[in-house]
Subunit: 189 residues, 2 copies
């Protein structure tokens, strides 16, 4: 009876979208099978650990994506300011101008924060640290760099909350611009 043969990685991508729109607790297996077109057979074959393992796989994929497109450039790109510009571009595209939610942020606000503590903490800690190192590379003094990087990550997460609430992607775009300006402003202590 099996019709199409899928791959685990496709499943992870689909699962990410499901978790993002329904939340962890709101994502029942029936929702998953409906949205991913995968039967229980495939699901438990790919993820014997059930929902927990699915969420872990999703978080891992998200972590890899940000590592490749955002964190690593922040650390390695010789032109520090270009890396920051790139970060904002990638963030804007990834979150679809605020119409898409940050799953890690959503997990952070729920009890998932405990269950997936390692991944959630890792995501935000490396983001702040890598941005900080980039700012130092761009010539900022250390304490200011720490403050600015924390402020930027906080701003992005907060903007996602507010953009969803007020329902305008304008809020998100406006905030990204404001944050970018603050990070790249060279003529200020």
């Amino acid at each position: 009876m099996p019709r199409v043969v899928s791959e685990r990685s496709d499943a992870v991508t689909a699962l990410a979208e499901v978790f993002r729109t329904h939340g962890f607790e709101g994502t029942s297996l029936s929702v998953i099978t409906a949205k991913t077109k995968l039967g229980k057979g495939s699901l438990y074959h790919f993820f014997p650990g059930g929902k927990d393992e699915m969420a872990e796989a999703v978080l891992e994929e998200i972590g890899r994506w940000f590592e490749d497109r955002v964190f690593k450039p922040l650390r390695d790109e010789p032109d520090a300011e270009a890396a920051i510009e790139k970060m904002f571009e990638e963030v804007d595209r990834y979150f679809r101008s605020g119409r898409r939610v940050c799953l890690v942020g959503a997990f952070a606000l729920g009890q998932e924060c405990d269950r997936f503590e390692r991944q959630v903490r890792g995501y935000f800690e490396t983001w702040v640290m890598d941005l900080e190192s980039c700012l130092i590379r761009a010539g900022r003094n250390e304490t200011l760099a720490r403050d600015l990087s924390e402020d930027a990550v906080i701003g992005i997460q907060g903007a996602l909350v507010l953009a969803r609430s007020i329902g305008q992607s304008a809020v998100f775009e406006r905030t990204l611009l404001r944050l970018k300006k603050r990070l790249l402003e060279r003529d200020h202590p």
Copy 2:
């Protein structure tokens, strides 16, 4: 067999804490009865509409709390800067220095955003608007006031996300200070 007679308002307070720690979807009736010490009888007597009505009541209570302690002072307090100081004090206390989550913010990131759209949108819109009017009253020009108020509410919400993730209330406190300074800075365009 009923032992103690409770009031609806007590139930709402208990429910708020349950929703905050378990999320809307994660809050099952069994969790509610366990944490609130209220049987199904009382629960459905107070909230015939079930979980939805409970959440609405909680959101209403939160809205009232912020209206009284934060929004109204922002609008009415003659000393605009004092109102802003008070806002940060109340916010810090309410969110227990970042150890407590903003239920409205958490709802905003989930599908509850659609179900309770009115309340979620109302909470954030009035917060931003009232803070904006307060800043104008404090002498800021209109466009800057709009930007600053949006930035502050975003910063608070983002700080809650990050504080939970990294697990330090220090992040929250530091952010509140930074935001307050930004709002009260008089010597800048």
